[in-house]
Symmetry: C2
Subunit: 344 residues, 2 copies
């Protein structure tokens, strides 16, 4: 190995830049590959139906902290995170595979807890666990789940279909999960210094629940079917509203005009953000892990969503030249940048 | 948490016992789930064709050692290992997803090497990379790959179909990969003590190649199609011939009679086993990572495989009551036990 070898830190590219950098020369060749890298899930042709595949990896110390994450919740959430990607394609998840690497500090009883959560999620979302791989690790727990879903050809929704004039919709409040995480982190610090102090989580159950026990919005997909509504684009909010909106705009070649007053924030989140001396809208935009759906619809479909529960209209798609902006309650206009994945 | 809490070491169950213990209450409910846990891959119904899904996780320090594994080879092998599972269903791999967790000691250039291998395998095996997840880890590299294939309903081959009188076939020599690993481990120890000594790998290229650059037997599946041969059962040899034969027998409810003289061992493997003071047949039975296919055929199909290159007939399926036995060249009979996965 040459001493002069170039070394570029992975940080410099970010997740999406990195993936693009590593895979942009790869051209799918299989006729059955309808959509590859770059959406919530891949799409594979199987005749009348399309198979939709999504995969996510969760790493101890990065994505979860077992100091405050019960293993059953972790198992449940790991499944939900993946199913959310399938719903974000307007498809129905049907199967999952679960792979994990774990060190010998995990007992069979610990794994039973983890699987209890995994299987509870399978049962609730009506998906089958069909395979996986279990192996050891030198340190920590690494969970990789792949979800397989089915979608009708003319109903699949990508990130690429938003067009000028479309309405931007969100299926629920955002920012709460991030604030739940801040509380859990704070309590962990306090507990480390004062092991006798019992955590005081009074009145924070909603925020902590959003962090530890998120749900994927399967009922929204059912509502779409009933209303015969097909969004023009859709993505799930895992990295944060700003980052997801950025993806839709970049991949659709459009801009967005987001109204602060249209972004749903839970009263507990609002209150807790202020306690942490954080701006609630910043938490809502950059927080992540809410697993709500962000989607756009043609204006003519407004009547279809108007009376749907849990649908908030938060803005409008505009021409690319206008960029992606937030219009604050105070009348200011801010540029929105992608602040997604910052694990590195 | 009660102090009296039961703690069962994961070791006590083994991989297959563990998976069974954790998932045996899970009953697939989706009509599209044809086969779930317990074969090389899951099978999902998509009308005329079946989708076949397999997933594998590779962990640094457990499955590979970067001290002697070039990253490009690692990427290539990680794909091959998964494709091998799809071929073992007599199906054709079409797509893969790649997830990885890596610590910040990996540079972009290192990942480029890894992806070079991944994409080279995609190109060679004609599969598309359609998605994945890249995240960080606190320590080491963890790779999880899912392969998606397509199989015709009446040509899929499971582990469950072997029947008394069937012939046991192997597609190539076994044990070489394990011996390649022993050599690499030995050179690593020598290098640690004497950094100036250059490794002497003269005449060991075959063994090391089998360990670092294995291939999946895609051409065998093509030969089966040409010959209109459908094996009665099949599995790929990842954990070792003994372990795989054990799976087929247990899952088919049969016994096996394996002839030592019928088990192909490469001359380099034979020689190296003796140098390491190991029994060559033990290496062949328990070595693993050969990625050859082990399959059974009805006796009436003997003519179809007789002149196929690389097909070795190594024994016969017998009644379950006879157990799984090895008939040595010296005329002795030994019981074969599953000695597969021993990572824990």
């Amino acid at each position: 190995m040459a001493n002069q070898q170039k070394r570029t830190d992975v940080n410099t590219l970010g997740e999406f830049g990195l993936i693009d950098h590593l895979t942009n020369k790869h051209q799918p060749k299989q006729p059955s590959t309808i959509r590859g890298i770059g959406d919530d899930a891949a799409v594979i042709d199987n005749g009348n139906f399309k198979t939709v595949i999504s995969t996510d990896m969760l790493v101890e110390g990065i994505h979860f902290d077992l100091a405050y994450t019960p293993l059953e919740h972790l198992g449940y959430k790991a499944v939900v995170v993946n199913l959310s990607d399938i719903y974000a394609m307007n498809a129905i998840p049907k199967q999952i595979t679960v792979s994990m690497a774990l060190s010998n500090r995990f007992s069979v009883e610990a794994l039973e807890e983890l699987y209890k959560g995994i299987l509870r999620a399978c049962s609730f979302y009506n998906v089958d666990l069909v395979g996986g791989d279990t192996t050891s690790s030198l340190k920590g727990l690494c969970l990789s789940i792949t979800a397989i879903g089915q979608g009708e050809t003319d109903k699949l929704v990508y990130r690429t279909g938003a067009k000028v004039g479309d309405l931007i919709c969100i299926t629920g409040d955002v920012g709460a999960s991030y604030l739940g995480l801040q509380i859990l982190e704070r309590e962990k610090q306090i507990h480390a210094k004062h092991p006798d102090v019992q955590p005081d989580l009074e009145g924070m159950d909603y925020l902590i629940g959003r962090q530890l026990k998120p749900e994927a919005r399967k009922e929204i997909i059912q509502l779409f079917r009933k209303a015969e509504l097909v969004p023009t684009s859709m993505i799930d909010i895992s990295d944060g509203l700003a980052s997801e909106l950025f993806h839709i705009c970049t991949q659709s070649g459009v801009g967005a005009f987001l109204e602060e007053s249209g972004v749903p924030i839970h009263p507990q989140a609002e209150e807790m953000a202020l306690k942490f001396k954080l701006d609630p809208i910043t938490c809502a935009l950059s927080g992540g892990e809410d697993y709500e759906l962000l989607f756009t619809i043609d204006k003519k479909d407004l009547d279809k969503v108007k009376y749907m529960p849990d649908i908030f209209i938060a803005g409008e798609i505009v021409d690319e030249s206008h960029g992606i902006t937030l219009h604050t309650k105070g009348g200011n206009i801010h540029s929105i940048t992608a602040q997604g994945w910052q694990h590195f």
